[in-house]
């Protein structure tokens, strides 16, 4: 079968790499981003992908986005909530954080994924009944579990998203829909550059490597649920670019938290400055 995959924040960084990765694996892909220029550019680069302009942090946009995803794809097997907001840039101590910056991180990183998941849950559950499984992958961070100074807004929002994933996976256990909370590692992206402008980029993971790991995690969850696999055009070998193995990178949201993985270590090694 052809998986139908929706990806938010799909015009840059990890999201763009995910669009490319899932297209290469033969999936039907819809991607969402705020900026029309970026959406048009990526849609031109990948004519098979469906570009949707929308802002997951806006309540009014959520159902418009969901409508276009369902319209373009007909249904959804995989939702990847990837769009993220860093909070204040440059990073600030919590005591110096404007509440508006914190609100924007919370609404983008927690409420947005919650709303979009809820709007698409009927389709995800229907796909799970038909094919055996469906997956919501929420992009997490080691900052979700480790209290890095300066990362208050982002870390607290990602912690909330991680916990949301775990609870939803508990509640959705009978529906065939799985929730994954995945830390992709420290990547060479615009978000990371905004947070750590002086980072050694050569030590950072390439987004396409993280995208392959995330796609493998989705594939594993779907295959675990009995869904027929896509042909893996990209080769299954996992690159160990960030010092993490797939098991480290992926946490089935319902089974233990990232405390049980090695995440966090890379941050200490690479970004001691955090």
């Amino acid at each position: 079968m052809t998986w139908r995959v929706a990806i938010t924040g799909g015009t840059a960084g990890l999201g763009l790499a995910l669009v490319r990765e899932f297209l290469e694996r033969g999936a039907d892909v819809a991607f969402v981003a705020r900026g029309s220029d970026g959406v048009v550019r990526v849609a031109q680069e990948f004519p098979r992908a469906h570009g949707i302009i929308g802002d997951v942090s806006k309540k009014e946009d959520i159902h418009r986005i969901a409508l276009q995803i369902l319209g373009a794809l007909g249904g959804v097997d995989v939702l990847i909530n990837n769009a993220s907001d860093l909070g204040p840039t440059p990073l600030q101590l919590l005591a110096d954080t404007e509440c508006e910056d914190f609100e924007r991180a919370l609404v983008t990183n927690v409420l947005g994924p919650f709303r979009l998941t809820k709007a698409l849950l009927g389709s995800l559950a229907a796909q799970a009944r038909e094919n055996g499984g469906a997956v919501v992958l929420n992009v997490s961070s080691d900052a979700a579990v480790t209290p890095y100074a300066g990362w208050g807004a982002y870390g607290a929002s990602k912690a909330a998203l991680h916990h949301l994933s775990r609870i939803w996976d508990q509640e959705g256990a009978g529906s065939g829909v799985r929730w994954l909370s995945v830390d992709p590692g420290d990547m060479d992206t615009a978000l990371h550059a905004a947070a750590v402008p002086d980072a050694d980029r050569s030590a950072l993971k390439r987004p396409e490597v993280a995208a392959r790991e995330l796609a493998d995690a989705v594939a594993a969850a779907l295959e675990d649920a009995g869904v027929v696999a896509l042909e893996d055009a990209g080769g299954a070998a996992l690159e160990d670019a960030g010092g993490a193995t797939l098991e480290d990178a992926v946490t089935r949201a319902g089974q233990g938290g990232p405390q049980e993985t090695r995440r966090g270590r890379r941050h200490e090694e690479n970004d001691r400055g955090k």
Binding site: I53, A119, G122
Partner: protein, 356 residues
């Protein structure tokens, strides 16, 4: 009955009138629905998400304002969004009852209608000055984007505040296919779905392009429901087959599910996975082959929904129902209370063969 005027899908005080096989009536809180189900029952619900099917715009040839309500479509294919059957109203909005809305300017094939970012061309009129097939220009993704940005859910004069898309998407909403909400599914919460699973009650879904409930124009209303495409997934076809084998009840959640399943049964004799176009009206002469019971809204005499109930129970039972709905303060329309009606036992069923 009183019209439900607040867009709340599952008010805690929602009522459920239960019409048993022998015609006896009972009053329940709707939240107790799962208690009324039996292990082995199969619920089939319509998972169509509701389109923003109301589009305000301008009739280019005359420059006059119109409201276009999308009302029909040839198929449920995601790419099939170029061509729609549409009801066209003159100026005004939902605060005016549809009965009182002016006719649109005279519309002819080839006319253009500008609808925000979208432009449609009238292809043909359907034997009525406000019913036409229209075709949108642009690529498929542009049409979806235009509908999402510019369209609004069809509004109701009896609901005070403007409806947003989230008001009319049921908890199980999936494929974007309905022109008005398949509102029987509003009653389903995920907690209920969970409780059903624990009890051994199955839930399956199909997608049926629920059409508009009323146009305010008697000639058009007499033609409702228009032809409606549907899709039955393999899982659902199998679940119905299994339910029939074990002599379990198939309970439709919504009249659209009755229409889809009984249409599929008439075409194929049994339920197969696939797509179809429901063209028949269901009424007193319909012999129900698949559906044993129906969960639906409270319907008033004279509507196609009420006629459909006559396939389940005799006229006398429906008169009892009407009296009880009125005297007990049941609320009607999309956000109103519900009924659970079981197909009457054969002896008391109205006579008559099948429709066509």
């Amino acid at each position: 009955m009183i019209a439900a005027s607040e867009p709340i899908q599952r008010p805690s005080e929602a009522k459920l009138l239960v019409i048993g096989r022998g015609g006896a009536l009972e009053h329940w809180p709707r939240s107790a629905l799962v208690e009324l189900l039996q292990p082995g029952d199969l619920l089939v619900a319509n998972d169509a998400a509701t389109l923003p099917a109301s589009l305000a715009g301008t009739h280019v040839e005359t420059g006059r304002s119109v409201e276009v309500r999308l009302a029909g479509r040839g198929s449920l294919e995601p790419n099939d969004v170029g061509r729609f059957l549409a009801v066209i109203f003159g100026a005004g909005d939902f605060r005016t009852r549809t009965e009182d809305r002016p006719l649109p300017p005279e519309i002819e094939p080839g006319d253009r209608i500008r609808l925000g970012p979208l432009e449609a061309t009238v292809e043909s009129l359907e034997h009525h000055p406000r019913l036409a097939w229209i075709r949108f220009g642009g690529a498929v993704d542009e049409i979806w984007s235009g509908l999402a940005r510019h369209g609004k859910p069809i509004q109701y004069a009896h609901v005070r505040q403007p409806l947003a898309l989230w008001d009319v998407w049921s908890p199980i909403a999936g494929p974007a296919a309905a022109f008005e909400a398949p509102s029987a599914a509003f009653a389903l919460s995920w907690k209920m779905v969970s409780a059903m699973r624990v009890k051994g009650v199955e839930l399956a879904t199909l997608t049926h392009a629920a059409g508009i409930s009323s146009t305010g124009d008697p000639d058009l209303d007499a033609r409702l429901p228009f032809d409606e495409p549907y899709r039955i997934p393999g899982y659902t076809a199998d679940a119905i087959g299994r339910a029939k084998e074990r002599h379990a009840r198939v309970i439709a959640v919504g009249t659209t599910v009755v229409r889809a399943l009984e249409d599929a049964a008439l075409t194929e004799g049994l339920i197969k996975a696939g797509t179809g176009l429901a063209t028949r009206k269901i009424g007193p002469a319909t012999r129900l082959r698949i559906v044993d019971a129906l969960i639906s809204g409270t319907h008033e005499r004279g509507t196609s929904h009420y006629e459909l109930l006559r396939a389940f129970v005799p006229a006398g039972t429906l008169e009892d129902m009407e009296r009880q709905l009125d005297s007990r303060g049941y609320r009607t329309h999309e956000f109103g209370d519900s009924i659970l009606v079981e197909k009457a036992v054969e002896e008391v069923r109205p006579g008559g063969g099948e429709l066509r």
